[in-house]
Symmetry: C2
Subunit: 201 residues, 2 copies
C-alpha cells in the first residue's frame, strides 16, 4: 500500500476490522468516501461520532437515548415485564418487535461465540438477569423465552440456560420450529422438515 | 425501526448508501460500532473526518497528501511521464503498482457506468489528458495504455478512446488478454496482471 496516504490507510484498517468487511471491500469503501467529498465525509464522521453518546439499557442491554438508565421498552408500563425473551443480539430484538406479537421485555446476552463458550461479559448478563428476577419478581418470572438462534451452538446453550433458569420462572419456552412461512417443502432441510412433522398442529 | 435512536438510524441510512452495503449489513455494522464503545467510535469518526483533507492529483486524479497539487507518482522524476495508463479507478492503480512492472504514470477516468455512457466529469478528464499531452509532450505521448476493465462496456470504451487518442500517441495499447474476459482488474493476481502488462498489445 505505497501511494496510499496515512489517513486513508488508517480508515481502511479500521473498516477491515468491522464484521463481514474484508480488506478489499474496506479499500473500495475508503476510496469511495474520499471521492464523495467533504460533505458526505463530514456527515458520516459526525454521525459515527454521535454513536458514542448512545447508552446501553441497564436492564435489557439494548441501546437507547432516553434520559433514564433504562430503555423505552423496559420502562413501558403497558408491557408485561414478567415475560422475558433472552436473545442474542439487538437486531433480533428489532425483528421480534417487528412481528408486533410480543409484549414482554428482553434480555440481550450477546452472540453465542462460534467456539460455544460464553464470554465473561455474557455470563455477567445471565447473572444480572437472575438477580433482576429475584428482586423484581420475587424470584420467579412468569415466562422466560429462550430465543437464541436455532443453530447447533444456539440450541446447546438454550438447553443449558433452560436448566440453569428452571427455578427462576413458571414457564420456560423456545421459539417454535417448523417450515418458514412462504417456504417450500421441496427446499426445506431434513432437520426443519422433521421438526415441522413432530410439532404438527 | 421504532426503538432505534435517531443518531443510530442516521448512521444506518448513510452506511446503507455505500456501495455493496445493504440495509441489513448497515444495521449490523451500526450496532457493532455502538457496542465497541467510545474509543473505537471516536477513532473511526476522526479517521473518516480526516479523509476530507485528502487531495486529488490535478494530473492523474489519484488521491494524495503531498504539499503539491500533483501526486507522488506524477512528480516522480524517475518515472516515464510520456507513457500513460488510462485506468478506471484508484484501486486499479494500486493493483498495477503492486506488480512493479509499470514505470509510467496514470490517468484515472472513473468507473465506466453500467449504461456505457461516460459522465460529464469523465469526459472532462479525457479532455484534460488531451490538453496535458498537448502541453507536456508536444501533442504526442510515447504510449497510451488503455487499461479499462475487460468487460463489454470496458472494451467498447477502450476502442472508442483508442480511436479518439490515435493522434495523441506514438503507440496505443491495451492490457494483454491474459485477463479473463468478464473479470475485473481489481481481482486479478499479480502474475496475471504483470504478464498482461508485459504482453500488452
Amino acid at each position: 500500500m505505497t501511494h496510499v496516504p496515512p489517513p486513508l490507510k488508517r480508515v481502511i484498517d479500521v473498516l477491515s476490522e468491522l464484521p463481514s468487511i474484508g480488506p478489499r471491500q474496506a479499500t473500495r469503501l475508503a476510496f469511495y468516501l474520499v471521492n464523495q467529498g467533504k460533505n458526505t465525509i463530514d456527515a458520516l464522521a459526525s454521525g459515527i461520532g454521535a454513536l458514542a453518546n448512545i447508552k446501553t439499557c441497564s436492564e435489557c442491554f439494548f441501546i437507547h437515548q432516553t434520559p433514564n438508565p433504562i430503555c423505552g421498552i423496559c420502562s413501558d408500563p403497558a408491557r408485561n415485564h414478567a415475560i422475558i425473551a433472552i436473545i442474542e443480539k439487538e437486531t433480533d430484538l428489532l425483528s421480534l418487535e417487528h412481528t408486533k406479537k410480543f409484549n414482554g421485555r428482553y434480555c440481550i446476552i450477546g452472540e453465542i461465540p462460534k467456539n460455544g463458550v460464553l464470554e465473561d461479559a455474557q455470563k455477567l448478563r445471565v447473572e444480572h438477569l437472575k438477580s433482576h428476577i429475584g428482586k423484581m419478581h420475587n424470584g420467579k418470572a412468569e415466562e422466560l423465552i429462550f430465543a437464541l438462534n436455532p443453530t447447533a451452538t444456539g440450541n446447546f446453550h438454550a438447553s443449558l440456560l433452560m436448566r440453569e433458569f428452571a427455578p427462576f420462572a413458571n414457564r420456560l419456552s423456545r421459539l417454535g420450529r417448523g417450515l418458514p412461512t412462504g417456504g417450500e417443502i421441496e427446499f426445506a432441510d431434513d432437520e426443519t422438515l422433521g421438526s415441522s412433522l413432530e410439532r404438527r398442529t
